[in-house]
Subunit: 261 residues, 2 copies
DNA sequence: CGGGACGTTGACGGTCGTCAAAATTAGTGG
DNA sequence: CCACTAATTTTGACGACCGTCAACGTCCCG
């Protein structure tokens, strides 16, 4: 539905690479070239020389405490951020106070693209758990992507991917019923988590029912009720923020009723 | 709300430029450098040398008859398209047949960004009236934007603008009621048309009620009813696809109830 | 002039929002 | 570590908004 269309092969490789490593954390150089998320946020097939140059894109690491903002609406745009650890939400506010969660972002995803067009951010990015990001000044990205074709292409793909993701969210918001929205949401989350080496069937929600509702265009009570309904039908087990998916196929059937698996 | 955040100053300049021109159409060279939409789809402040090079981006013009597709889901992505004349809708289809209109595009806007990420288009672009587009092969764009900084910046801004626009649509779909959605839609349309030299208060809808409804996450009957309600309240005059906005402030109040103008 | 696409309007019902209260959990400070 | 408060979640009752179905009206184009 509104997935990230990533190449699982590369992600698996990254995971494996991580498992094989037995070096102590502090001996690992802080650089993209040996970041275990490299395959998620950097182009593939680079020469070592190109990789060394790309290392220079990351100006700093920044730790974000849970509940605090990475950037907020109106702030000057200077950098994109690659999430190393943690979990974010982005949201926009209408003038009369309503707000809309526009996405949830996890490790390996890039955040801040909204700020490019007017050199100022148009949404808030809030950490839903303690997080760490790589700060990548955008002028460095532009400079280097003039010289490294793979980086240029990569930047374009990341932005295009975000556009396509949002198309999927529009389909969800514009044409799905509550159950379909929540099923779609759960499948998307678990798929992205699985791509990062987590379980296919168990997940911990980092966001409140209200935040889920805001993202899905539902009220928190409807989200809660729909969880309860899924639980009653034996599709999931829900215990607060712990979700265990018992029947993935049933969720897929809810999203896409007419398909014959 | 979900506007395009363009600089009106430049657009006005373009309009003025057009009015001053008394040359016959066929004597105007077919090139960006003297296209009257230049300020809409090209970066500003270029040297004449840079402008000459950018002319080479446009590989061809293509005429699209009303009702036919510029590209469709699954087709190989090769080019972005700048709309010269005409009006498009883009839409995506879910597997079970529902479809969602993701946007309406008019002269000066760029279409096809969704195709970059996977080298294949993920939506359909359909002309709602006879149209003409500039075909801009994406590899040429990438090549030239490595050398012309303003072009690189421009491409990034166009993509970022689309992301921000979609955030606005998500806010609309996720948190607004039918009247707010339609008011927001009308204000956005008329604002974009006005930026192109058309009336601030009158417009002709190029799309059906069903297409409006698909975009706004409503059924066509609801769209029709809401138009009738606005008309009964004296806010607009509606005669099929001709819309005359009688009270812009009232529309703004509907979108943003708590604001005090 | 006639057929088909498009638009309008009405009646009715379902889905989801609203309001309210209780239950459970998380967070804070002693 | 525990008590206490705030935050979050669950569940119920009720109603509003909008979707569904149906019939009719209008416009456009061959």
């Amino acid at each position: 539905m509104f997935d990230q269309a990533r190449s699982l092969i590369h992600i698996r490789a990254a995971t494996k690479l991580l498992q094989n490593k037995t070096m102590k954390p502090e001996t690992i150089k802080v650089a993209c070239s040996n970041c275990n998320l490299r395959e998620l946020c950097m182009p593939i097939g680079l020469s070592t020389e190109e990789l060394d140059r790309i290392d220079l894109i990351v100006a700093a690491r920044r730790k974000i405490k849970r509940g605090t903002t990475l950037f907020r609406n109106g702030e000057k745009f200077t950098s994109l951020y690659a999430i190393r650890t943690g979990f974010f939400k982005t949201s926009i506010a209408s003038e009369d106070g309503r707000d809309q969660v526009t996405g949830f972002q996890m490790a390996g995803e890039v955040i801040g693209l909204d700020g490019i067009v007017n050199d100022s951010h148009t949404c808030d990015a809030i950490a839903l758990e303690d997080a760490e990001v790589c700060v990548m000044p955008f002028d460095r990205i532009e400079e280097l992507s003039r010289e490294v074709n793979a980086l240029q292409r990569h930047v374009h793909k990341i932005m295009s991917r975000e556009i396509v993701r949002e198309h999927g969210v529009m389909l969800l918001l514009g044409s799905m019923r509550a159950e379909e929205r929540l099923a779609s949401f759960l499948l998307n989350l678990v798929q992205r988590l699985h791509a990062r080496g987590f379980s296919q069937s168990e997940l911990i929600l980092r966001m409140t029912r209200e935040e889920i509702g805001s993202f899905l265009g539902l009220k928190l009570e409807t989200v809660s009720r729909t969880f309860s309904k899924f639980a009653a039908e034996g599709i999931v087990e829900v215990k607060q923020r712990h979700v265990h998916i018992l029947n993935t196929e049933a969720l897929k059937d809810i999203v896409n009723p007419k398909a014959c698996h």
